[in-house]
C-alpha cells in the first residue's frame, strides 16, 4: 500500500515537471508567433541577398525580429526534448510520439523558412515556390502546436488516473 502511494507521488511529480516544460513551450510558441508577425509585416528579404547557404544563414542575424523568431522557434522545439525524456520515465508513449511528431514537423519548418528566403532572392525570384514554402512553414508550425496540445490531454488524463484511480485503489488501478 505504502509503495503504491510512493509510486503515485513519484509519477505525479514527474507529470508536473512535464507540465512546467509545456508551459514554457507554449510561452515560446507565442513568442515565436509574435516575432514571426514582426518578420511578416516589417522584414523584407534584401534585394542583394545571395542565393547561397551562408548568405541565407547570416540573414538570421541581420534583423532582430528574424533572430528572435528563429531563436524562439528553436527554444519551443527544444522543450519537447525534456518532455519526451520525462514522458518515457512515466511510460506515456502517446506523449513521446506526439512530441517526436512535433519535433519532426518543426524540422520541416526549419527547412522551409530558409527556402522562402532562397526563392525570394533576386537570382532565383520564384514567388510561387516562396509562397508554398511559407505556407508549409506556417502549416507545420500549426501541426506542431496541435500535437503538443494533444500531448497535454494524455498527461491530464494520466494525472487524474493517478490521483483518483490509482491513489484511491493502489492495487487495482487500471488505465
Amino acid at each position: 500500500m505504502e509503495q503504491g502511494v510512493d509510486e503515485s507521488e513519484r509519477l505525479s511529480k514527474t507529470l508536473h515537471r512535464i507540465f512546467l516544460f509545456l508551459y514554457l513551450q507554449f510561452a515560446f510558441y507565442w513568442a515565436t508567433i509574435a516575432a514571426g508577425m514582426l518578420v511578416n509585416y516589417y522584414y523584407a528579404v534584401p534585394a542583394d541577398l545571395q542565393s547561397d547557404f551562408a548568405s541565407i544563414f547570416l540573414q538570421f542575424f541581420a534583423a532582430p525580429s528574424l533572430f528572435a523568431h528563429v531563436a524562439f522557434a528553436v527554444l519551443s522545439t527544444g522543450m519537447s526534448i525534456p518532455a519526451i525524456i520525462l514522458a518515457r520515465r512515466v511510460r506515456l508513449s502517446q506523449v513521446v510520439y506526439l512530441h517526436a511528431g512535433a519535433i519532426t514537423a518543426r524540422m520541416v519548418g526549419f527547412v522551409c523558412g530558409p527556402l522562402f528566403m532562397y526563392f525570394s532572392t533576386s537570382a532565383v525570384a520564384d514567388p510561387y515556390a516562396a509562397n508554398i514554402s511559407t505556407f508549409v512553414m506556417a502549416s507545420v508550425f500549426l501541426t506542431a502546436v496541435i500535437l503538443t496540445f494533444m500531448s497535454r490531454i494524455f498527461i491530464v488524463r494520466e494525472d487524474v488516473r493517478i490521483k483518483y484511480v490509482v491513489g484511491a485503489h493502489p492495487m487495482t488501478g487500471v488505465r
Binding site: W30, I33, M37, Y41, S139, L142, I146, I153, Y164, V165
Partner: protein, 160 residues
C-alpha cells in the same frame, strides 16, 4: 461536489461533456481561421496587394472569428454560472483578446488592407495575429480545465 484543488463546478457530467464538445468545435473554427488567415496573408496580399472587406476569403475569415467569439463567450458564461472560475477567467481573456484582435483586423482593412499601406495597417495586422494566438492558447487552457473536470467525474464515478 467539492474536491480539494479541483474545479468541478455544478454543471454535471453531461453538461461538462457538452461544453467540452463545444470547446473542440471551437478549435476546429480556430484552425479554419488560422488557415484562411494564412491563405490571405500569403496568396492574396502577398506582401504588396490589398484586401477588401468583401473578399470571399475575408468573409470566411470574419465569419470564423464571429463563431470563435460566440463559442468562447458561451464557455466563459458556463464557467461563471457553474462555478468554474479558471474556465471563466481563461475564456474571458480569450474573449477580450478576440475583441481587440477584431479591432486590429478592422484597422488593417480600414487603413488600406496591404502591408505597404502604412504603419497603422501593419500595427492592425500585427495586433490581430498576436491576439488571435493568445486567444487560441487561453481557450486551450479553458478546454483542459473542462476536460480535467470530465475525467475526474468519470474516474470517481459521479455524474453530478
Amino acid at each position: 461536489m467539492r474536491l480539494p484543488g479541483e474545479e468541478i463546478g455544478d454543471l454535471g457530467l453531461q453538461g461538462l461533456r457538452l461544453t467540452l464538445t463545444l470547446c473542440y468545435i471551437n478549435f476546429v473554427v480556430y484552425l479554419a481561421i488560422y488557415i484562411s488567415g494564412m491563405y490571405i496573408n500569403i496568396y492574396i496580399t502577398s506582401g504588396v496587394n490589398t484586401i477588401s472587406i468583401g473578399d470571399p476569403s475575408n468573409i470566411i475569415h470574419m465569419v470564423g472569428a464571429t463563431l470563435n467569439f460566440a463559442f468562447t463567450f458561451i464557455v466563459m458564461m458556463v464557467g461563471f454560472l457553474y462555478g468554474m472560475r479558471r474556465v471563466a477567467l481563461f475564456s474571458l481573456g480569450a474573449v477580450a483578446s478576440l475583441v481587440v484582435a477584431t479591432v486590429g483586423g478592422l484597422l488593417f482593412l480600414a487603413t488600406g488592407g496591404g502591408r505597404q499601406s502604412g504603419d497603422l495597417t501593419l500595427a492592425g495586422g500585427w495586433i490581430m495575429s498576436l491576439l488571435f494566438m493568445l486567444a487560441l492558447f487561453l481557450s486551450y487552457y479553458a478546454t483542459l480545465k473542462v476536460m480535467r473536470a470530465v475525467r475526474i467525474l468519470e474516474a470517481t464515478g459521479r455524474t453530478e
